[in-house]
């Protein structure tokens, strides 16, 4: 079939896949630093270790999954890879464009006409070919399928492919090296690629480590799914300032999350803004709203009530791509 890299890789992602992904990423993706902040430790009542993926290539962790997936595509196509295609207005668009450029592969990125100009320019700046469409889910998918057909391009999903999940899982391997006595990890959850990859690695290598997802209350499909024991996607596209987390947790990520994640903590829009303000003012890092969910969750009453034991908590700051002109709306000053 045209499309997805479904049958080209393993059906179930294992730690071995993630370790191989780490080898492919070495020298290309950054091993991002883990940063700390005394003030935030005091607020949280524990030691916090911030894995700074806002400092990753292309400005978010998505570079890992994109690079790993394209690398595998090149290998499986005997070094003669087809172009790649995706639809995204966000971090995956930038990540895919940059990874493809670095690997010498053509990238077509379908973006809604309403996507921020700076993101379209970033994708073009990374060598990606931007195809605009009207801003509906249907138009994105149809346009993408048309391009895939036309160009013989392979679709690389932002979160629902094993090679993408393996790529995201490499953050867990780094955290295990970078944070001694790690007992808890928390990541934002949108499509679930990061949470799936990170949770499977943590539980495989150290099952005592507790793994949490953090989600906006307004987009709480993953939390509902975990509570119900079955995937419950929202039927509408939710509004939240955490724009990277509006999509539903997908069917490929779900089984990993169901098996490995201890809980998903939901936070309000105000809690997200408060966490943004703390990170920008106290840590001097540019992190987008989706990226601060982990901190918002750790500071929430429900986390504090649930996790009295956690002493060394790793929080993944997933990305820093946002329109600076919108900043006043995103902070609680």
């Amino acid at each position: 079939t045209m499309g997805d890299l479904h049958n080209d890789g393993p059906d179930k992602v294992t730690v071995e896949n993630v370790e191989k992904a780490a080898e492919r990423l070495a020298g290309h993706a950054r091993e991002t630093p883990v940063l700390t902040c005394g003030t935030l430790d005091a607020l949280a009542g524990r030691k916090l270790f911030f894995k700074s993926e806002n400092l990753q290539k292309s400005g978010s962790f998505k570079f890992r999954g994109a690079f790993n997936a394209i690398s595998r595509l090149i290998t499986s196509a005997n070094q003669n890879p087809p172009p790649v295609v995706t639809h995204s207005s966000g971090n995956h668009a930038c990540a895919l464009a940059l990874a493809a450029h670095q690997l010498g592969v053509t990238a077509h990125v379908v973006m809604p006409s309403t996507a921020p100009q700076c993101k379209k320019e970033t994708v073009r700046g990374y060598g990606g070919n931007v195809i605009e469409c009207v801003p509906t889910e249907q138009a994105r998918v149809e346009t993408m399928e048309r391009i895939a057909q036309q160009e013989g391009a392979v679709y690389i999903s932002s979160s629902q492919h094993p090679d993408v999940i393996s790529g995201q899982g490499t953050m867990a391997l780094e955290l295990l090296r970078q944070v001694p006595d790690l007992d808890t990890v928390i990541t934002p959850v949108g499509g679930g690629g990061m949470l799936a990859g990170v949770s499977l690695v943590m539980k495989a290598l150290n099952p005592h480590i507790r793994v949490y997802g953090a989600e906006p209350e307004l987009a709480n499909d993953a939390a509902t799914s975990l509570a119900q024991g079955k995937r419950c996607p929202l039927s509408y596209y939710p509004e939240t300032i955490a724009d990277g987390l509006r999509i539903n947790m997908g069917p490929v990520a779900w089984p990993y999350i169901q098996e490995h994640v201890d809980d998903i903590i939901c936070v309000t829009e105000d809690e997200i803004k408060n966490a943004m303000t703390l990170i920008w003012q106290r840590m001097k890092l540019v992190v987008e709203p989706s990226g601060v969910l982990g901190l918002a969750a750790v500071l929430s009453d429900s986390f504090k009530a649930r996790e009295q034991e956690a002493k060394n908590v790793a929080i993944i700051l997933s990305g820093g791509n946002l329109d600076l002109l919108k900043l006043p709306e995103l902070l609680s000053l």
């Binding site: 630093p33 400092l55 920008w280 890092l285 540019v286 002109l325 000053l333």
Partner: protein
């Protein structure tokens, strides 16, 4: 040999070497970060020393820690909580001294003008500093600080002319040389010159082939003018620049070191500074204040670009601080 032709400076390399173990228990060893995009723009290998990530949000914490430690060490017959320091500053130095004192159990009196922004007063208080208000004039600041010193026995910690402060700032050079394999040049923003002078002395000893460049707002170019005239020439009036941390002029302690060690002073316009600040925020995802952007703007400037690439390939840029008012950003 630090002194030349009979001149001696307010500090020597020994001061700096002694400062390192003194402040190490307190300060963060900040990361050095790189950016492919900025390397392309500058056509150099740039290494950004992230002092915006230092405790209290600027490199000033280093000098403050050293100065406070010296006060404690020189008063062994008193316990820390009987000791105090005083300074007049509303900016990064105020916050730095407040926290440096707090972590060593010493009281910090911070003399601040009544019209200081609330956010700055709040920051000082949050770090444990005790604010003493004064009128918004230079004379009142100095007089009030003197009064506090007399009344409390507090030791004055000058933001940039104190030898202990200068030696403290210089400790970042040890870290840089651990973190960056080859250093051809170091670009340092300059206000009062404490960091510039300290780095100059340390670099001369530890990496003598590296050239030290000062970066300064054109609108506050006392260092550039002094350098050209070979004579200390402070600003005639308070300057107008968004680099609120660089408004002071270099002084009698820092000038001779700068005069004799710095390779050149590069001045940049307000527009260049704003553009560089936005570039770092957007591409490096680091929050830096305008004073930090001065170094970035300098390295992208025509003047720096015209320096021979071969001998200026690996350039360290000090991102000196990240205390910026999020309500009041230059591009909004």
């Amino acid at each position: 040999m630090m002194a030349s032709a009979g001149k001696s400076y307010c500090i020597s390399f020994q001061h700096i070497r002694a400062a390192l173990p003194t402040i190490t228990p307190f300060v963060t060893k900040t990361p050095v970060m790189t950016s492919s995009h900025l390397n392309q723009l500058a056509n150099r290998n740039l290494f950004f020393k992230c002092e915006n990530l230092q405790k209290t949000g600027s490199f000033k914490f280093r000098g403050a820690c050293n100065a406070v430690s010296k006060v404690v060490a020189s008063n062994q017959n008193q316990t820390a909580n009987e000791l105090s320091v005083v300074t007049h500053s509303s900016g990064n130095h105020a916050q730095a001294v407040s926290l440096a004192a707090k972590v060593q159990g010493v009281t910090a009196h911070i003399v601040m003008p009544t019209n200081s922004p609330a956010v700055k007063k709040e920051a000082v208080r949050s770090y444990g500093g005790q604010i003493v208000e004064c009128e918004p004039t230079e004379q009142s600041r100095v007089d009030t600080a003197d009064q506090v010193a007399k009344k409390t026995g507090a030791t004055m910690v000058h933001p940039n002319q104190s030898p202990d402060v200068i030696a403290g700032q210089a400790t970042m050079v040890f870290e840089i040389l651990d973190q960056v394999e080859k250093v051809d040049a170091i670009v340092v923003p300059v206000g009062g010159g404490g960091m510039l002078a300290g780095i100059s002395i340390a670099a001369k000893e530890l990496c003598p082939h590296a050239k030290v460049y000062a970066a300064e707002p054109k609108n506050a170019d006392d260092c550039a003018v002094s350098f050209t005239r070979k004579e200390l020439t402070p600003l005639p009036a308070p300057p107008i620049t968004i680099c609120d941390a660089l408004k002071t002029s270099i002084g009698p302690n820092t000038w001779p070191i700068i005069r004799d060690h710095v390779e050149d002073v590069i001045t940049v316009t307000e527009e260049q500074i704003k553009a560089a600040m936005r570039l770092v925020w957007e591409r490096m995802k680091l929050i830096i204040e305008p004073s930090s952007a001065v170094g970035v703007a300098a390295v992208l400037s025509d003047k720096f670009q015209s320096l021979p690439a071969a001998s200026h390939q690996n350039v360290v840029v000090i991102l000196c601080g990240g205390n910026v008012d999020l309500d009041n950003l230059p591009w909004m």
